[in-house]
């Protein structure tokens, strides 16, 4: 299974979180919002100007800038 960062994933793709890296403050917030290892995340769409990106996880919708999404390591499922 190939490891990728979340900012590179195309919309309408489902992924599983492997690890959250990055600066401590943003890492902690990303984990708190539920992007813990093993969590399934659906990439919904990019904003009209290309950034931020919208995701669906745990039954709710979350948006991250690409800079934050870059710190989330994922693998594609399905």
């Amino acid at each position: 299974m190939k490891e990728e960062t979340l900012d590179f994933i195309e919309p309408d793709t489902s992924v599983r979180v492997l690890k959250v890296t990055g600066q401590k403050s943003s890492r902690k917030r990303i984990l708190d919002m539920g992007l813990t290892p093993g969590t399934r995340v659906d990439v919904v769409r990019r904003a009209p100007l290309g950034d931020p990106v919208e995701f669906k996880l745990k039954g709710y919708n979350l948006s991250l800038r690409k800079r934050e999404a870059e710190t989330v390591l994922v693998e594609i499922v399905e």
Partner: protein, 673 residues
């Protein structure tokens, strides 16, 4: 006999916490700030059975870390003020993420009650949640509520009463794996043996240490037993542990959810369908711009008749009073000073009420987050958040409500920068000044000139934001992690309360500053200059060389001479701080044109002023100190005279520099002479 207790309302943002708060407290609310910061603090009272409950609305948070001001406020309140009961409002349609906060509240050892809110929506979605089973699992009372309709509030209040009278024992259902439990227990025993930590729930404190919480580590370092704690902490991989703790909290929640509910996650929700259009690649921006246009029109066009009415009423009142009072100076003080002052405070009220009505609709419906999502890329280029866009656009109508609208921006620094640059958005009151001067000097090109002024304002705002980010308000960018909440139908009651609250804050906090400013300028314009034997507040004095303000103007002439301005302009600009449009009227009086603007235009065009100085004056009007109303709200929203004065001096310096460049460079190059 009634007993007084404190009840704190906690919960994630967008879970209907405000509607529960409104339903409990009704109109008995008090809005202030948390000590030392400008985060809003709402409190209210409610008497139920034998208890007088003071309800404190904590900031909406997803967690209780030390990385956001809101979260620090919420947890400090819980730890230091020790509320008798904490009610967590939980969105029934979004249980998993909402319960994450629950785990941390339980670790804090608070007397917790869960208000399972929006149960109507979860039912409509097809979810079945067994509140009884949930209560059993969590060992915490769970009450179903529908805040927007006021359902379940009585039940919640009953439960608060019961919980208050119940002897407490805190069992922790949130256990972690053996490795974490072992380390945590080691730390807990150190904490419990040191009286320094007596105020802190030891389990929560030890877990925060393991999560690497900076505030908590700093606290622990003050104690004598820190070396012992450090020894334990050094043995673990902090980054791994932090992820494991978050992960295991979510795992426990998932285990519980499997037992207590049947959640329907398959169907595409209504929200998702709306977003297919609203945040669509091609439609997103047009939809956003149309909504902005609508909000702008409602705020500023609908407000016009009301503003005219206020204007006419106070004009009439001032005249009536002046006619009744036979002492001329007193008549002028009451009429032109005080009544006009009150009028200039109230005139902004229609704008403020309507803008906040529109903002409340956008926030409560969930659109505000989409607006931020759409505009974020653009705003991030100048180091700001997508949410800064709306206040800035509203600034073109009037800076006063626009600055108040920065409340929607969570990050303190982003908010402060937005407040400081909003005055460069050329407001409606500056337009009459441009129309007069551009009309007098540029004839057919007036439109282009006026457009360029608006563009210059935007440019300066953008550059200033970047500059401030890099200097006085430096710091790492806050991560952009934003929920896009499900769309909801806003309630009229909620929007009305929000609107009224803003109006009241404006009148109370900013009103005084505006009134003092207006009366102060009246005094300066009415007092005869030393040595003059003119009568106080007579027409012969008001604003002329015979008055104090006239003397100040003459005194300032050398300062503005390099810009091509004379003392009359200096005086008109001083008056302009009362309200920008007054610059026109003051110039009319000072240049002997009376109230007639066409006369004034002809006098100016005939050589009272050079076209270059005219252009410089427009630039100066765009950039210099905002009006008293604006100064008042900047003070109120930043909570600091320092930042208010900074904006004033920064803007005025820029105004001087730009007007100087226009006049001097233009003259050297022989333009427009």
């Amino acid at each position: 006999m009634t007993e007084k207790i404190t009840v704190a309302l906690a919960g994630n943002p967008n879970v209907g916490k405000t509607s529960i708060f409104n339903a409990i407290t009704g109109s008995k609310q008090h809005v202030g700030n948390w000590p030392g910061v400008t985060v809003e603090r709402k409190m209210g009272k409610r008497v139920h059975n034998d208890l007088e409950m003071e309800i404190v609305d904590l900031p909406g948070t997803y967690s209780l870390t030390a990385y956001s001001l809101d979260e620090i406020i919420a947890r400090d309140f819980i730890i230091e003020e020790k509320p008798d009961i904490v009610v967590q409002v939980v969105d029934a349609t979004n249980l998993e993420r909402n319960l994450y906060l629950t785990t941390q509240l339980m670790e804090l050892g608070v007397n917790l009650i869960i208000a399972l809110n929006m149960t109507d929506l979860s039912l409509a979605k097809g979810d079945r949640i067994d509140a009884g089973k949930m209560q059993e699992f969590l060992e915490v009372p769970v009450v179903s509520t529908i805040g927007s309709k006021g359902n379940g509030i009585e039940g919640l209040l009953d439960e608060i009463t019961k919980e208050f009278h119940r002897p407490q024992e805190t069992d922790n259902v949130f256990t972690y794996d053996d490795a974490i439990e072992k380390i945590s227990q080691d730390i807990e025993s150190v904490l419990e043996s040191d009286s320094f930590f007596i105020h802190y729930p030891s389990r929560w404190f030890s877990l925060k240490l393991l999560e690497g919480d900076e505030n908590i580590i700093r606290k622990a370092k003050e104690s004598d037993s820190y070396p012992d704690i450090e020894k334990i902490l050094n043995k673990v991989d902090a980054e791994l542990l932090e992820a494991k703790i978050a992960d295991q909290r979510y795992k426990t929640i998932q285990t519980m959810l499997r037992q207590v509910c049947n959640i329907n996650t398959c169907s595409l929700s209504g929200s998702d369908m709306v977003d297919r259009v609203v945040t669509n690649k091609y439609l997103g921006i047009p939809v956003f711009l149309s909504l902005m246009w609508a909000a702008f029109e409602v705020t500023f066009t609908f407000a016009t008749p009301f503003m005219n009415m206020i204007d006419i009423f106070f004009g009439w009142l001032a005249e009536a009073v002046t006619n009744v009072i036979s002492v001329p100076w007193l008549a002028s003080l009451v009429g032109e000073g005080m009544i006009a002052g009150v009028g200039s405070v109230l005139i902004f009220l229609p704008n403020i009420l309507l803008l906040f009505f529109m903002i409340s609709l956008m926030e409560d419906s969930g659109y505000m987050a989409r607006a931020a999502f759409i505009m974020d890329k653009l705003m991030s280029r100048i180091g700001l958040h997508g949410k800064s866009f709306i206040p800035l656009v509203m600034g073109f109508g009037c800076n006063v409500p626009a600055i108040m609208a920065t409340r929607t921006i969570e990050d303190t620094r982003d908010r402060l920068i937005t407040i400081l640059i909003t005055p460069f958005m050329s407001c409606g009151a500056r337009l009459p000044v441009y129309v007069l001067l551009a009309g007098a000097f540029f004839g057919r090109d007036a439109g282009v000139v006026i457009f360029s002024l608006y563009a210059l304002g935007i440019l300066i705002a953008v550059v200033s934001a970047k500059l401030m980010r890099g200097t006085v308000l430096r710091g790492e960018d806050t991560p952009f992690i934003m929920e896009l909440p499900s769309y909801r139908v806003p309630t009229l009651k909620g929007s009305a309360i929000h609107m009224w609250e803003r109006g009241r804050i404006y009148l109370k906090k900013a009103g005084t500053i505006i009134l003092i400013g207006v009366v102060g300028v009246w005094l300066l314009a009415s007092m005869p200059a030393p040595g003059s034997n003119a009568v106080f507040a007579s027409d012969a004095v008001y604003g002329t060389t015979q008055s104090v303000i006239g003397v100040i103007g003459q005194f300032m002439e050398p300062l503005v001479a390099p810009l091509g301005f004379d003392w009359k302009i200096a005086v008109a600009l001083l008056f302009g701080v009362v309200a920008k449009e007054i610059v026109v009227g003051s110039m009319g009086v000072l240049y002997g044109a009376g109230e007639n603007e066409d006369n004034l235009s002809q006098i100016l065009a005939a050589g009272a002023m050079t076209p270059l100085a005219g252009l410089g004056l427009m630039v100066f009007t765009l950039l210099y100190a905002p009006c008293f109303a604006c100064i008042g709200v900047i003070k109120r929203e930043t909570g600091s005279w320092k930042w208010t004065m900074f904006q004033l001096l920064y803007g005025t310096s820029l105004a001087w520099i730009f007007a100087f460049i226009v006049y001097q460079a233009g003259s050297r190059m022989g333009l427009l002479v």
